[in-house]
Amino acid sequence: MSPKTLYDKIWDAHVAHEADDGTCLLYIDRHLVHEVTSPQAFEGLRMTGRTVRRPDQTIAVPDHNVPTTLDRANAATMTEDSRIQVAALDTNAKEFGLHYYPVSDVRQGIVHIVGPEQGWTLPGMTVVCGDSHTATHGAFGSLAHGIGTSEVEHVLATQTLIQKKSKNMKVEITGKLPKGVTAKDITMTVIGETGTAGGTGYVIEYCGEAIRELSMEGRMTVCNMAIEGGARAGLIAPDEKTFEYCLGRPHAPKGAQWEAALAWWKTLYSDDDAHWDKVITIKAEDIAPAVTWGTSPEDVLPITAKVPAATDFKGGKVDAAKRSIEYMGLTEGMALTDIEIDTVFIGSCTNGRIEDLRAAAEILKGKKIKDGMRAMIVPGSGLVRAQAEEEGLADIFKDAGFEWRLAGCSMCLAMNPDQLAPGERCAATSNRNFEGRQGRGGRTHLMSPAMAAAAAITGKLTDVREMMGDPA
């Protein structure tokens, strides 16, 4: 048998039909649905008299435009159009008999945090969702694609996706991460290296010692931003950490089924001599805490660097960099650590898990945020919120001056009331720094939760390593 990559193995296990030209019907194990990209798909089913083929494998949760303030049970906290969208999901979930976590359920949260938390996401599965950050689930060694609304309708009706196979890319992070450097810095540094189109047409498998050493939470952060590098999906081979995370989750297999699953999951790795179409190797020791300076996720630099000059770039990037620097209100050559911020957002499907909140709390413990700073922490799910309260993290955040919110996507995409005003500048743990992403005219610098916490205290972009004590 010819050697295979992890992607090859999962792909082969899910091809339901292959046409002569290589177009395949890929069978989908889990379909996650949220309120923003699904209403038109359900409407399409109704108009054609079709139904949901596997409601038992379809999971719905509102997250994108739900308010995250404590009074959100009050309908007046939502705009009319948001209310209609959430109500449509409610109706569709009930009418088609989907698994459903409404806003009133403590398990509600960002769809990519709820899926793994509830054990819906398991190794070797195919997972889709009408959201580009579906790549997150690749941390479990599951093939997870973001899809458009027409494809959502296609999966609802047929439980398959029309796909051609992507190419294989290996991203290896060798050695150990230095202190103060996290999963977010890995994934941002990779995008800085490959560019936002470097992964187009590929599925990336992340591997190497630094990836193995990451927790499941960290691995989800790495895979989450595979899409920002243009990749169709990101993958990490499952191992003991993966199995331990899955064991006992509500929808994970139990007993003999668990043993059978485990036996297969242990075969899910890339064979030694498998073929890679592209390989990128980065030394963990060369990675520093990273921030973005511009309006593309590829505009990544170590915190110790300076804002580049547009003329440092080539081709279309010269004009793009010029536009970015102007939009961001920066001066070429200024130190990144001189950039002052007025808002801090910690949360999102990239960094809204318990480990992210612990990292922020470690920096914020006993400290206060800078006067006038608007800072919020939005946990990724109701269960993350509950755990953070149990661990005393919520008190640290509140004492420091952060708002402690309910779960949702919040200021990552600013569809709900959590937005930047024109000219406001935010240290954000989310995944996109596009023009207007967090609000028209708003300026976003992406970074890790520890870096965002440090910026909240000093009021400017800060090298978090300077705020960490020496190792005991």
């Binding site: 177009t23 449509a88 580009s132 996109r432």
Partner: protein, 201 residues
């Protein structure tokens, strides 16, 4: 879905790289539960000022490009969010063909579901068509999907690649779901064998 066979139209030049789907259709317009009506908000933040007045310098606000049916743009067009509202807005404006050196995967695939032909060409050829587009309404670009060719207003002919299945669906306005349901037996068989091989799913 609308068929796409041939097109002869005005092309609007938008020479920026990494045009993301947030630029194409900002989030405040994703709250709709319909597919139609988004054309007026295409490129909203580049097209209107804070008081909702048109910004005259933006290409689609210029008189010669108001009826553009083709968009010529830079590398990595449609990156970012998977929102299909982006191709819905483009189609609703009246643009049914995009020409760029490359596209983000999800956007590319979303176009074909909405009667839009995204054409990828080498940078040098896009540069020629960008210059052509800059001539305004006097320059019509012609696209023939069957022949897989683009003809500039000066008569330069470029051929382009397109997946045969996607081409077939676009030329005939076919509904993917209908086609897949015809393969229902294959899906049934797969489901039966998968439920034995991986009963825990």
């Amino acid at each position: 879905m609308n068929k796409f066979t041939t097109l002869s139209g005005i092309a609007a030049p938008l020479p920026l790289i990494n045009i993301d789907t947030d630029m194409i259709i900002p989030k405040q317009f994703l709250k709709t539960i319909k597919r139609s009506g988004l054309g007026v908000n295409l490129f909203d933040e580049m097209r209107y000022d804070d008081d909702r007045n048109e910004i005259p310098e933006f290409v689609l606000n210029k008189p010669q490009y108001r009826d553009a049916q083709i968009l010529v743009a830079g590398d990595n067009f449609g990156c970012g969010s998977s929102r299909e509202h982006a191709p819905w807005a483009i189609a609703d404006f009246g643009i049914t063909c995009v020409i760029a050196p490359s596209y983000a995967d999800i956007f590319y695939s979303n176009c074909f579901k909405n009667g839009i032909l995204p054409i990828a060409l080498p940078q040098e050829q896009v540069d020629v068509l960008m210059k052509d587009a800059e001539k305004g309404s006097n320059a019509r670009i012609e696209i023939d999907l069957e022949a897989q060719t683009i003809t500039s207003s000066d008569g330069d002919v470029f051929s382009f690649e397109v997946d045969s299945f996607k081409k077939h669906c676009l030329m005939n306005g076919l509904d993917d779901i209908g086609l897949t349901l015809e393969k229902g037996a294959s899906i049934d068989n797969f489901e039966t064998s998968a439920s034995q091989a991986r009963p825990w799913v």
